[in-house]
């Protein structure tokens, strides 16, 4: 009974559309018109009641309101604040791995850990596919005023790396166009300055980690703090290419051994 409360209550309080018909002596035409009006009214009312009960679409989008509330309906993130990262168009393998890292305590952010704590691998995969398939234009977040020399340093790290620090170029794994590599290396273009710098910082403090050997933790620890600002600023101000699709799987030779790439088979 309680399951149907909602519908029943609606129907009961509404008088049946035939109520009163035929009692009053009215001209035939009026009665016929009135009956049609009442029938239509009944259908509309019924329709509303029906819509009310069935207003929950059986879609993944509806099911994952907990995700889209912060990351956006299409995974566009919060470009204004840069706090909630964009998920749209990132490789599905990467997104699924991040959810699992939150579950396993490799990545730490309490609201994310709480939200994804009991999701199954199958459901995680579906959610990751949903966001990976979204195509929404990139919105640019503001980049802090940074000295040209620092921006130049950022560009150098991205395209050439720094052999003295044993830091490989970002492009080596994240793709020539920095749009990521299937299935598990995320793109770096279009990400806000705050997000990139805080993630690199998290790798240094251990609040973000990945499967061992954790190559990004190694790289982040080899960078100087100013290098982090430099690389984040350059990436955040870099023009987003027309084609933002990740590079195909197997198209990179990782310069370091990475647990993520071993597990996901992203490297060659």
């Amino acid at each position: 009974m309680p399951q149907h409360n909602r519908t029943w209550r609606g129907w009961r309080t509404r008088p049946p559309y035939t109520a009163g018909m035929g009692r009053a002596v009215l001209p035939f035409g009026y009665r016929r018109i009135m009956s049609w009006v009442l029938v239509l009214a009944g259908m509309v009312a019924g329709g509303i009641a029906y819509a009310d009960q069935a207003s929950v679409p059986d879609t993944l989008k509806q099911r994952i309101a907990a995700c889209t509330a912060c990351h956006g309906l299409h995974g566009e993130g919060s470009p204004g604040s840069g706090f909630f990262p964009r998920l749209a168009g990132k490789p599905a393998g990467y997104l699924a791995l991040q959810i699992q890292n939150f579950q396993r305590g490799r990545r730490h952010y309490a609201p994310m850990e709480y939200t994804v704590r009991q999701l199954s691998p199958a459901y995680i995969h579906q959610i990751a596919e949903y966001f990976a398939a979204q195509q929404v234009p990139y919105e640019r977040a503001p980049v802090p005023d940074i000295a040209p020399s620092l921006l130049q340093r950022g560009q150098q790290l991205v395209s050439l790396g720094d052999p003295a620090l044993k830091v490989p170029p970002c492009q080596a794994c994240h793709g020539k166009a920095l749009t990521g590599t299937e299935p598990s290396v995320p793109g770096l273009v279009g990400l806000p300055y705050d997000y990139i710098s805080s993630q690199l910082g998290s790798w240094r403090t251990g609040t973000r980690a990945s499967a061992a050997p954790d190559c990004m933790a190694i790289i982040a620890n080899r960078l100087a703090p100013t290098d982090i600002s430099a690389v984040a600023a350059w990436l955040a101000s870099h023009e987003v290419p027309a084609d933002t699709h990740p590079q195909p799987a197997g198209s990179i030779t990782p310069p370091l051994r990475c647990g993520v790439l071993d597990a996901a088979g992203g490297g060659s």
């Binding site: 993944l60 309101a65 907990a66 509330a69 305590g105 709480y114 009991q118």
Partner: protein
Amino acid sequence: MKRLLWIPLVLAVLALALWWWLAHRSNAAPGMAEDPAIAAMLKDPTVIAKGRYLATAGDCVSCHTAQGGARYAGGRLLPTPFGNVPSSNLTPDPQTGLGQWRLEDFWRALHSGVGRHGELLYPVFSYTSFTKVTREDAIAIFAYLKSLPPVRQQATPLGLRFPYNVRATLAAWRALYFKEGVYQADPAQSASWNRGAYLVQGLGHCIECHAPRGTWGGVEPRAPLSGGRIPEVDWYAPDLSMQAHGGLQGWSKQDIVDLLKTGQASKGSALGPMADVVVGSTQHLRDEDLQAIADYLQSLPARPKPLTTKPSFDSKPLIERGQGIYAQRCASCHGKDGAGIAGVYPPLDGNATVLEPTGMNATRAVLLGGFAPLTQGNPRPYSMPPYAQQLSDADVAAVVTYVRQAWSNRAAAVEERDVVTYRHTPVD
């Protein structure tokens, strides 16, 4: 003055405990071989399968597994008001787990709360409930644990403060709160009721959360399963009585079974730690056991009418503000009438979790949002957006107060300062 009378009593109990502890310590004889009949049982696949089911009913894995760690290998830090206690390794690793344990050691731990070397165990390990487990069931659980792949994982050091880190103090605690003894069936009740009582009071250790706790962290035995604040985690485990003024008043037996099986019922959904219990434990229980639990819960006594305390402030403006927020943010899913949508979004009208005395559950649900429990019956659950980022403390207090007093709900207002506290509760 009256309070001071406790001191000599506690000292006497302490002395008694020390003597008892020393006496029992010498009893331990580790390394002795298992009795051949027992040894055969421990290898029996039927016994192991039964043990697996019982270990699931007890949800052992949830405390005895660290986040991201190997199952049953321990290492999860369990927070208590006296400090953190790490859970132990239950896999049969000889150095760090139960590898060298014999059945007798296991029985003493489960039944008497005494460790392998005679040390008193901290009651974070709920032997206060597990003492009711029969020896036959204990053998099965032990057989199952012995069948697990051994995992080497060193114990994390105790995080208890003085004087709680002195194990002998536990003797006093035990004198106050621990009654050893296997569950005794009530011949006046049905077999199903007795099975339900056995599961709820024993392995299910429901009372460890669903009851108020005294100053020293012991469960108050006066009103069993009458609900309580779970220490350290800021979730309120509701009153489980289905009679008048109970938390589950109006629930049918089927509602109980549904909630334990799928995480959702027509009267509400499992939330917070209970969601974990449903996912890890109760969804795997056989229907007749769930029915038995419902039979038993249905017999819990009616509760005295709760005192309705007037708020110390005029809550009318708060409620009006909350009504506006509800219409804007909540009504599209939970309905203007708070009836929810059957099988998808829980009702808020008459919902035990909304109406619990503190308001912390509703407040944290608004702040955290999250998915309904993911179970075999609900593999792709719907979810609620977290409002922590979107609503101020005052807004959350307003909407929660509105929900707690709308429709047929009559629960106390929630104040802004409460929301501030719950916003900063660590999410475990």
